[in-house]
């Protein structure tokens, strides 16, 4: 394969594409979509302001509490607001379908509420326009549209014969055109990546790590541009008329981009049923009751617990203990119920993961899906990033409840008649318990979560090259 010939063919392909008027219409469409998507992305991301403000508002009222009994503070509770990753400007992922705020209090794991979807009118289900969506959905169509006739039209009108008798090799023709098409599709990506770079540069919350994530996005989308261009040229080579090539490619797009993802996820959800909130709560309540009911004075578990504590401290009644027994009891109860909840929640998440599994694995045969999964994960907007938030919120909730319990044990009088300790704790304690601080999933973890997709994109890249090499071997001009 001669580099010179390759470049001549690639350049000629680009030149002839830019000589047609249709390309400018496509460029215009893409630019309009880019502007809309970028503006929405920034506006979506700006909702972080509401969340930061409310996190602050919740904190102020937490700190504003006077001296009081710590258990009342445990019920006063606080809130965790989910902050968006800066790259969510690029790829909205599941963001609109995940809850954004959760009330954190003792004894109770509340649902993360107020997702965008819960306020939506059903319009949302048609999808959202993000920059990633344009690159994943619309750009492939444009690549197919520009490239479908690349080989087959030359064959139909005999130009291919001239090309070959002029000394071009099949490999040079195929790869030349494929590279030309790739160059054009990369050119289409450029404004999108440029816009994101600009936004990230002007955004104050961006850290080093985010640039690393962005680099992965750039590489992944570029590779997919190559893959799609190579496949387009292969289909064009293998079709007997340009109409056939077009119909094949459009059919491929519909199947791979629209039908397969939705069907596979629906089938996954069909086979792995998940409980509704009512069932989920009831199952947890059942398990907690199995341990025992701390409200019931005659409950054997809690009675045994009390006896062992009394014995260990060599006293007869809880009032004689050196610490507040109520606080102790609640810290035990909190640990038990948090463990049970954690168990159930893990099962639920595993069930969700099973539902997602089919779609995850289908990424192996569907590069569009691989790109979608990878892009979401790296943009911090996928399922696992959301789970990461839930886990942090629950972790903080547990710490808060236990902190209040330990304050109760330490500072609250075990005996109403003993006046050495009061029934309140100083408000300074509220301030000294730090606020909820959300940290994003690490980049390594985000990448590991989508290893199937990464392998898929890399193998597709190699496969699509192999396809063209194979095509070149078998190709005929007639």
């Amino acid at each position: 394969m001669k580099k010179r010939t390759l470049l001549i063919i690639a350049k000629q392909f680009c030149a002839s594409v830019f000589k047609s008027k249709a390309i400018y219409l496509l460029v215009l469409t893409l630019v309009v979509l880019l502007v809309i998507a970028a503006r929405s992305g920034v506006a979506y991301y700006d909702q972080n302001h509401y969340r930061i403000d409310h996190q602050q508002m919740a904190r102020e009222s937490w700190e504003g509490n006077p001296d009081k009994h710590p258990h009342r503070m445990a019920h006063f509770g606080t809130f965790a607001f989910r902050l968006k990753h800066p790259l969510s400007i690029f790829d909205f992922g599941v963001e609109s379908f995940t809850g954004n705020a959760v009330f954190l209090e003792a004894h109770k794991q509340n649902v993360v509420n107020f997702s965008e979807a819960s306020f939506s009118t059903g319009l949302l289900r048609f999808g959202e326009l993000s920059m990633a969506m344009v690159l994943q959905t619309i750009l492939p169509l444009i690549i197919f549209f520009i490239g479908y006739s690349a080989i087959v039209a030359d064959r139909e009108n005999g130009t291919l014969k001239i090309l070959l008798t002029q000394g071009a090799k099949w490999k040079e023709i195929l790869f030349g055109k494929a590279l030309g098409l790739s160059a054009i599709s990369l050119l289409f990506c450029l404004p999108f990546l440029g816009t994101i770079t600009f936004i990230l540069l002007t955004e104050e919350h961006v850290v080093q790590d985010d640039w690393m994530r962005f680099a992965i996005i750039v590489i992944a989308y570029s590779l997919v541009c190559f893959i799609l261009s190579f496949i387009t040229i292969y289909v064009s080579l293998k079709s007997d008329s340009s109409k056939n090539a077009l119909v094949k490619l459009l059919g491929l797009w519909l199947l791979m981009v629209i039908l397969v993802p939705r069907t596979s996820q629906a089938i996954g959800a069909y086979f792995y049923e998940t409980p509704s909130k009512v069932e989920f709560r009831a199952a947890i309540e059942q398990d907690v009751l199995k341990y025992g009911d701390s409200h019931d004075i005659n409950d054997p578990f809690f009675k045994a617990l009390k006896d062992s504590v009394l014995q260990a401290n060599h006293v007869k009644t809880v009032e004689e203990l050196p610490f507040n027994y109520g606080g102790f009891l609640m810290s035990k109860g909190e640990r038990i119920s948090a463990n049970i909840y954690g168990e159930h929640h893990k099962q639920l998440l595993d069930q969700y993961r099973k539902q997602n599994q089919l779609t995850q694995w289908l990424a192996i045969i569907n590069p569009f899906l691989a790109l979608k999964n990878l892009s979401m994960s790296v943009s911090g907007t996928d399922f696992e990033s959301y789970v990461h938030f839930q886990e942090q919120a629950e972790d903080y909730r547990y710490k808060l409840a236990q902190k209040m319990n330990s304050l109760q044990m330490k500072y609250i009088t075990p005996n109403p008649n003993d006046k050495t300790k009061g029934s309140q704790v100083s408000r300074d304690q509220w301030k000294s318990f730090s606020d909820f601080q959300y940290t994003q999933l690490t980049t390594e973890a985000a990448i590991l979560n989508v290893k199937v997709s990464i392998i898929s994109i890399l193998s597709w890249f190699i496969f699509s090259i192999a396809l063209l090499v194979y095509g070149a071997k078998k190709a005929t001009a007639i």
């Binding site: 509401y50 508002m57 009342r72 107020f114 939506s120 959202e128 969506m133 629906a266 509704s276 009512v278």
Partner: protein, 452 residues
Amino acid sequence: MSLYLLMFRQFVRTRICQLGLSMVLVLGIISIFIGKQFLDKQRATAAQVAETQQEHIKRNVDLHKDDLGLLLYYLKFAVVNDVSPLAGLSIGQKDINPSVQNVTILALEGQKYDADLVNPATLLFGNLDLSFLIVYVFPLLVIAFNYNLLSEEEEGGTWKMVSVMSVHRWRHLFTKMSVRAVLLFGVLIILFIIAAGILGIEYNLAFSKIILTSMLYIAFWFAIVAFIISLRRSSNFNAVALLFCWLIFLILIPAVLNNVIVNKYPMPEAFTTMIKQRDGYHEKWDTNKRETVEKFYKQYPQFSSYGFPSEASKLQWLWYYAMQNLGDVESKEESALLEAKVLKRDDVSQTWSMLVPSLHAQLIFNSLAGTGMENYLDFLNYTEQFHEKTRLYLYPKIFSYNKAEGVDWDRFKPEHVSFEAHITWSHLLLPFIGAIFLLVCATLISFRYFNS
């Protein structure tokens, strides 16, 4: 007639027809089973609530029979929004908005927006219900079956023959198209019949409105195809132009509209309501009890005979429930703003959908199946009424220090409600008929223009 049969046979034998119809049948049956599973799950949840409520009440009554105030701190009362079998056709928002509310008589604001447990990834990819098939996939079949209706004959050279042989060559085209229409409408009806059987849908007005909407929507796509054909361009042009139309109506316009609505009407009130409700309740612990109870009596003067609690006493249920209620009262403003915004969002999407048949069809399906936003808002309002009704019944019993046996617990069975969709005929029909009329006019004009 035999000519018609011949055309029928010719089309049925093409690969695209066999492939397209079998795909839509398979997907259709999958979608119906998904709808069936959804309905079963909704019903199972409702049944479980009914079953456990009694048990739940009994267990707690046994534990706290002497302290009604404490007992009602724990007790939950269910209200169930009955799911219509039509929801199996169009799941809409029903997967995320729960159709069971399980509320205590404490402050409501913190409870009522509790979402159901959902897998966000499943929501992202969307439900594969019959409405998806009708809104997304049927138009694709209309396009695939018709895009080369005329260009195929022109490119293959048969059009000249047809023009010479037939007096009414346009009628020939129309007949060809009608063959495809008959097949597609036939498959649609078959799917509806299967769905009615499996989902247990009775034939009623709402169901027939759904069928009518589907047919009009598909007819709208036939009109688009007719218009593109009338431009008399190549098969390739038609395929690209029609797919572009599909993209516009099913991906781009809805997505852009959604982005605009979300950004124009953000929902910070949701967060504020949540915080205010908590603060409104909790700060009463540290303020004057008399003030709190006075505010409560302003709400409900009928209870003022219960007097005021002494500041010294530790806990009095009258004061406690007054605090809880004031949590709701003090977040009322934000709550109302929130509801107004949700209504505004609904309103804007309804208005715009009049111009976009794909959106219109989906929203009509959701409304008729009771899975849309307005159904959920109705349910939330009902939950509020139910909550107040329950509270008002129980308040005097708590305030007068009744014991648990003083309450007739049997009356607390889960309450079932259902809401009628209000869709006028003109609202349903006008957008479709308007769009089809415009397209047919454009088609006739352009045929005349390109023919001369």
